[in-house]
């Protein structure tokens, strides 16, 4: 591996004193926010499932940070990724730990402004900021980063972060269902496999890869079970389910699966007792758009579920939540090449990321939304976009047209990585929910 002594391409000189100070203040607020968010979630649903306790613990980064640190001591490698296109199965097969390193800290995004302009996606700015002051434990602990060149922000984010860590880039084609796209992506998967093998020193063999695939399949199974439970009257608050999904990004996957299954057992019991988390006639809302990353960017789900009238999130189309796990790797024959093909196809073709286009536009995303609306009985869609997220913003009209034809109200909510507009957002969300309740009453 190349030494990191080269000159910094992007990073400005910041005095260590300033870094320390900023780190201290932001870490303290971050801790406060985690506690506060969990407290709020408990308040909304006083009768919260007991199994959520585990996820609260994992949501507080310190526990998992300690574990990863211990694993690193034993020689395990940690591989961070920024988009969910990174093939987790390969990382697991090489006995490394995959963690997603996107940042949800509002305060850190202001630091990112020193390097990139304000117009850039705040999630990218926040990740840069988090790195500048070493805020995110997972970003700090990862030995290398996989940067998938999806949107413009992500493309440059990898480049900027390469000032600190080795970054492996993966080119993703913008059209997914042509033969040449798949060929390119398969080659990328093979290359990244080689890189992972070189870093970890473990050769990825068929047996390990098979068990890694089975591990994620089991996780998908648990995830799908949870989603099925959300189809009926609300048995779990949307934020709780989102937190469960989100912890998958950094938790130990085997344990995560176990705990999620336990949560589902508890929820099934509640369904039989008709013990609902909120009144069954609460408007059912789906979120779509830019990813929302724990802990800070929890504003919208909190507002929806704490609003008056209350709404409940029963489904979403966020790459930080449901899209993480919705699609399993479907292997036809358990040979190495077919497993790699299956992985390549699962990550490229099943994705509904707006960075793709085709003759029919991003048809898959529309179909996903329509399917969710029908199966999860969605009454309203909140289209969440953070300023600077061009791709999601530009697809809005398309989604709106389809939703209009189906008679499902869509609400475009644009915001920033900031707490300042909470009051205003509250009014907007409440108006939307009021409208939904009125529609239900009619």
């Amino acid at each position: 591996m190349k030494k990191q002594s080269k000159e910094k391409k992007y990073m400005p000189e910041i005095s260590q004193k300033e870094v320390q100070e900023l780190r201290k203040t932001i870490t303290t607020t971050s801790q406060q926010i985690i506690t506060e968010n969990i407290k709020k979630m408990k308040k909304t649903d006083p009768n919260r499932p007991k199994a959520m306790k585990y996820f609260d613990e994992i949501a507080d980064f310190t526990k998992r940070e300690k574990e990863i640190r211990a694993a690193k001591q034993e020689g395990k490698k940690v591989i961070g990724y920024m988009c969910l296109f990174a093939p987790i199965e390969l990382i697991l097969a090489a006995d490394a730990i995959p963690v997603r390193v996107n940042s949800g800290w509002y305060d850190a995004s202001k630091l990112g402004d020193r390097i990139v302009p304000v117009e850039v996606c705040p999630m990218v700015r926040s990740t840069i900021g988090a790195k500048m002051i070493a805020l995110s434990p997972y970003l700090e602990l990862s030995d290398t980063l996989i940067s998938v060149l999806t949107c413009d922000g992500m493309t440059k984010l990898g480049e900027i972060l390469s000032d600190f860590k080795p970054v492996w880039t993966m080119t993703i084609p913008r059209v997914k269902d042509t033969e040449q796209s798949l060929r390119l992506w398969s080659e990328e998967i093979k290359t990244i496999k080689g890189q992972i093998e070189e870093l970890t020193g473990n050769k990825i063999r068929g047996k390990q890869l098979k068990s890694a695939i089975e591990l994620t399949q089991k996780a998908t199974k648990a995830f799908r079970r949870l989603q099925e439970l959300r189809k009926g009257p609300p048995v779990i608050m949307g934020r709780d389910a989102m937190l469960v999904n989100q912890t998958y990004m950094w938790d130990d996957i085997e344990r995560w699966t176990e705990k999620t299954e336990a949560l589902c057992d508890e929820l099934e019991e509640r369904v039989s007792q008709k013990n609902w988390a909120c009144p069954p006639d609460t408007p059912r809302v789906m979120l779509t758009g830019t990813p929302m990353i724990w802990p800070d960017n929890w504003k919208v789900p909190t507002l929806v579920e704490e609003a008056n009238p209350q709404g409940i999130l029963v489904a979403d189309e966020l790459c930080s939540s449901e899209r993480l796990l919705f699609d399993p790797v479907g292997v036809d024959e358990w040979s190495m090449s077919d497993m790699l093909n299956a992985i390549a196809e699962r990550y490229l073709m099943a994705s509904t990321c707006p960075c793709f286009t085709s003759e029919d536009g991003n048809e898959d995303r529309i179909n996903w939304l329509l399917n969710k609306i029908e199966e999860w009985d969605i009454q309203g869609v909140i289209y969440y976009v953070i300023r600077g997220c061009m791709l999601y913003a530009m697809e809005y009209i398309r989604v709106k047209k389809v939703m209009d034809s189906k008679g499902v109200p869509v609400y475009y909510l644009d915001t920033e990585y900031t707490r300042e507009d909470v009051g205003q957002m509250k009014t907007r969300i409440e108006a939307f929910l009021e409208m939904l309740s009125a529609r239900i009453d009619l």
């Binding site: 997914k176 269902d177 798949l182 068929g206 399949q217 089991k218 998908t220 199974k221 799908r224 079970r225 919705f326 699609d327 399993p328 479907g330 036809d332 024959e333 358990w334 040979s335 190495m336 090449s337 077919d338 093909n341 299956a342 196809e345 699962r346 073709m349 099943a350 509904t352 048809e363 898959d364 179909n367 996903w368 329509l370 399917n371 029908e374």
Partner: protein, 329 residues
């Protein structure tokens, strides 16, 4: 002679039942009752035995031809996917390939489509040749029974070629290979011998026959269901399906739900005959005659209810969240 046939019958039944028994035990033990692939194997083995019995009837060719031509009207190429003994041989070779973990090859889509259309050429050639022979060498009388006999057993035996893939490994007549009184055969081998005998000596004929067997073995080792891609027998329904007004024809077909599909591409990858329509077509009835209805795609599709096998409007089998165990309807 009859005793010998009786002995052979017993042997085949025994072998068939043992195989079926082993499969049942395997399925039961592994809890794989939901896996259609295993069920299909079972059906194939049992139908191979059934085909053997059919061959012992004097009018077997007629019965089988009726089955080949009438069944597809109702079931599409279900026959090809689930009953045909040649398909069983190819699937068995695929199974061997899977255990030695060799990756299969793919034909380019264009070549695959060309082969698919080439079957009609084969089909027509075999049907037209006997009529051409009529023209060159007109028979003295034209009564129908003579015509029928001519078609079935004329110099080129055109319809036997269509029955070709149905030849089970053990045949109740004098097959080309005899081991201790049991006659073995292989799809098309008798026809290959029949035609090459005209030109070559017995020794070379045998070599040609073995080369044919070897080629199909190697072919189906590297390509899944290689013969199904251009088998002229499979054309019977395909011809009808091409005409408007006959689109209803296969009552059994695969149906796709657009909204549930995420275009993950699994259906395209697992298809043994490389049908792309299931993936490419947005929704509705999959009418391509390339599909042998083996239902591998339905089995592997990970989205509940996205793909369905429908029999006359009623769903017989549907794709399911295979991460969860569920039952066949």
């Amino acid at each position: 002679m009859m005793e010998l046939i009786g002995e052979m019958l017993k042997l085949t039944v025994l072998a068939g039942l043992t195989l079926a028994g082993i499969l049942v035990i395997l399925i039961w033990k592994k809890g794989l009752a939901t896996k259609v692939t295993y069920l299909r194997f079972l059906v194939q083995v049992v139908s191979m035995v059934a085909v053997f019995y059919l061959f012992t009837y004097p009018v077997w060719q007629l019965i089988i031809l009726i089955v080949i031509f009438i069944l597809p009207l109702l079931l599409g190429r279900f026959f090809c996917g689930w009953i045909c003994p040649f398909a069983l041989i190819m699937d068995a070779i695929t199974l061997i390939r899977k255990t030695v973990k060799v990756r299969y090859r793919l034909l380019p889509d264009k070549l695959n489509k060309f082969l698919h259309n080439f079957r009609y050429v084969l089909f027509l050639v075999f049907l037209i040749i006997p009529f051409l022979l009529f023209l060159f060498d007109p028979p003295s009388s034209f009564d129908t029974s003579f015509l029928l006999a001519m078609l079935l057993s004329g110099p080129f035996e055109p319809l036997r070629i269509l029955v070709g893939p149905l030849i089970p490994l053990i045949v109740p007549w004098e097959g080309p290979l005899a081991i201790s009184g049991v006659y073995f055969s292989y799809p098309y081998v008798q026809e290959v011998i029949l035609y090459s005998e005209v030109v070559f000596s017995e020794f070379i004929v045998n070599i040609i026959a073995w080369i044919f067997v070897g080629l199909t073995f190697v072919g189906s080792f590297f390509l899944r269901r290689v013969w199904c891609r251009f088998c002229p027998t499979g054309a019977s329904i395909a011809v009808l399906n091409r005409f408007k007004g006959f689109k209803w024809a296969p009552m059994l077909h695969i149906d796709k739900d657009e909204e549930k599909c995420t275009k993950c591409g699994i259906c395209k990858r697992v298809c043994p005959v490389q049908v792309t329509e299931v993936y490419e077509q947005k929704a509705g009835k999959i009418t391509t005659s390339m599909c042998t209805l083996c239902t591998r795609c339905v089995e592997m599709c990970p989205y509940q209810d996205c793909l369905k096998v429908k029999m006359g409007g009623k769903t017989v089998f549907r794709s399911r969240n295979w991460l969860e165990p569920s039952t066949i309807e």
